[in-house]
Subunit: 343 residues, 2 copies
DNA sequence: CTGAAAGCGCTTACAG
DNA sequence: CTGAAAGCGCTTACAG
């Protein structure tokens, strides 16, 4: 038979601890797990001896009987995206507090790789999976995931999914905040540079932004759709600067697009915020370092990660299957890219 | 007794597959593991049935007997640091190729948290640990880690550790590349803005830089030490710009410091590269986006992650305990912050 | 409060 | 080529 001792721990098993303490492994196990009904003195002795022997429980053996792995899975499209790095940190910190480790997977938003990750995570008995999106998955795959029976929490999914839990930033409030900032600074005729219509998060930001602006008498917003990247923002801005017609500010759907606008502005000789004001959305790391620093709506990325783990905890401890939905707060970060209009 | 079936997989066990295939679990196991000595037809049948039943082996059970977890641990100071996000991606990709998942931990370079992570990873039977640094750990802790018997690979540790494997960028070559770039563009009197003397990586870059510069007749470098951050670079640069004495270029120990120099330049009205040239080291994401884009020496972060996993593979498959050391190549990335001097 | 024992679901010598 | 069986190291009802 295989005799592998207890690799990585010097081979000390519960058995060894029990012997040294003069009890059976049953009592030893109970002592170490702080269970009820073991004499305080016995418990203390066992614990001390376990310590001395550097006993480490074999998680495989424990998992085999308890079914618990003390691990959660996190699948993001790409950890190099600073948004997800922030989220991951929030996840890790919160998971650590509950004694769990996190297994990280990158999916590149590719359905096949994503499904592979899910399977691998399930294989390794992740107690829950926190994932970026499920959008690229077939209905069939989604059902398979749901059937796995472990809590799934989706990041950045607007609206309330009926089978999965979600956590999302408050896009409505964010859109409103951006509009109020512009209004407060005297802007009335503005451009809303947003992403493709099918992009649900950007659409909600846009809708809230427009609604808030237009609630103000005499305000007008010109909405432009483009690709939601720096490049998209750049190209749209070149066009915009050519056809400027009294607009005094641009609000973009995310910071990346705002950076594109900035680049186009430099090339076109348009000065921000002197000639035109600019407000973004996200507050990525770079936003504070551009010239001028970008006024934007901050998405609490780290908190999104934490919130996801909190949902997992709730679901796990209650045993409930009912998805939980959390909307995390956003806030305005005023830097220097929005000018106060003096009429 | 506990009856937890096979949670997360619909409860199908090897036993179930074996029964459906009309064999014993021994044969079923061998078929699924593609072992020798099982009739091709039997094997095919078992595999087909396992597929149909959506059989997923219970990793706990398997791990209990094999001792293998198919997971590696990665401990970085902070995943939000884009350097480590890149490394992590390299690790994940390479690990995936070998069928392993990665458990991610953040240590904040804090000895206690770091040790906790190591222990947790060992607990969960990580087959190897790739970690940022071990510098903050006591000798005792380091020995404990070494004693665990799993391969450990250290990131960014210069020189050859005798007990741990390492992977590091070629700092010597990087320093040389930076110097050659300046020399080629006609710079002879330059400033080397480096970090604290005890910072081994920065010191090596600096030493190689100086050596290469001074091998050129008539070249002279003025070395200045400061904190190796943007703020450090900023503060040092303010001082530098006040006392400029014919120097035509600044080479910094990393990009962060270069960004600090850029900021100071804007404030001091010094134009880069017109008034002074600037070359960094690292090539972080931001480096391509500054104004002007920064000429720098690229560290292959992603490759560092991959190399670490390759070392793990080698060590694991050979069973060798001898540390492996890898130096990954760097390259010059010429952008616009270095001007060609026309005498 | 403690022990004897079953059982978690696998893998792998050992026979045949 | 296949089976019967031991064993990996735990946890937890069941007795006492």
């Amino acid at each position: 038979m295989v005799k592998n001792g207890n690799p990585g721990t010097g081979g000390v098993t519960l058995q060894a601890v029990a012997e040294a303490a003069g009890v059976t492994i049953a009592t030893a196990s109970r002592s170490l797990n702080d269970a009820y009904g073991v004499h305080p003195e016995t418990k203390a002795r066992v614990q001390r001896i376990a310590e001395e022997l550097h006993y480490k429980p074999n998680r495989f053996a424990r998992g085999l009987v308890t079914g618990r792995s003390d691990m959660v899975g996190l699948i993001v499209s790409d950890i190099r995206n600073s948004y997800f790095a922030e989220v991951a940190r929030g996840v890790e910190d919160a998971a650590l507090e509950s004694g769990r480790d996190v297994m990280l997977c990158n999916s590149d938003l590719n359905a096949e790789r994503q499904m592979k990750s899910v399977n691998s995570l399930l294989d390794k008995r992740a107690e829950a999976i926190i994932m970026n999106s499920v959008a690229s998955l077939s209905r069939e795959d989604q059902q398979k995931i749901a059937a796995a029976g472990v809590p799934i929490v989706l990041l950045n999914r607007p609206g309330r999914d009926t089978t999965f839990s979600t956590v999302n930033a408050d896009n409505d409030k964010g859109g409103r905040l951006a509009a109020e900032c512009l209004l407060r600074n005297g802007h009335r005729k503005v451009i809303n540079l947003t992403g493709p219509k099918k992009h649900a998060n950007l659409s909600r930001r846009s809708t809230a932004f427009i609604k808030t602006m237009e609630a103000q008498r005499g305000a007008r917003v010109n909405t432009i759709h483009t690709i939601n990247t720096m490049q998209g923002g750049y190209e749209a801005a070149i066009e915009i600067f050519r056809n400027l017609n009294g607009e005094t500010a641009i609000a973009t759907g995310n910071d990346a697009m705002a950076f594109g606008v900035m680049r186009a502005a430099i090339e076109a000789g348009v000065r921000i915020p002197r000639d035109i004001s600019l407000i973004g959305f996200d507050d990525v790391e770079l936003s504070a370092m551009t010239f001028p620093p970008l006024t934007t709506v901050r998405q609490p990325k780290y908190e999104v990660g934490r919130a996801a783990v909190e949902i997992v905890q709730q679901l796990l401890s209650s045993g409930s299957k009912t998805p939980i939905h959390r909307v995390v707060d956003v806030e305005l970060v005023e830097r220097s890219s929005v000018a106060k209009l003096t009429k």
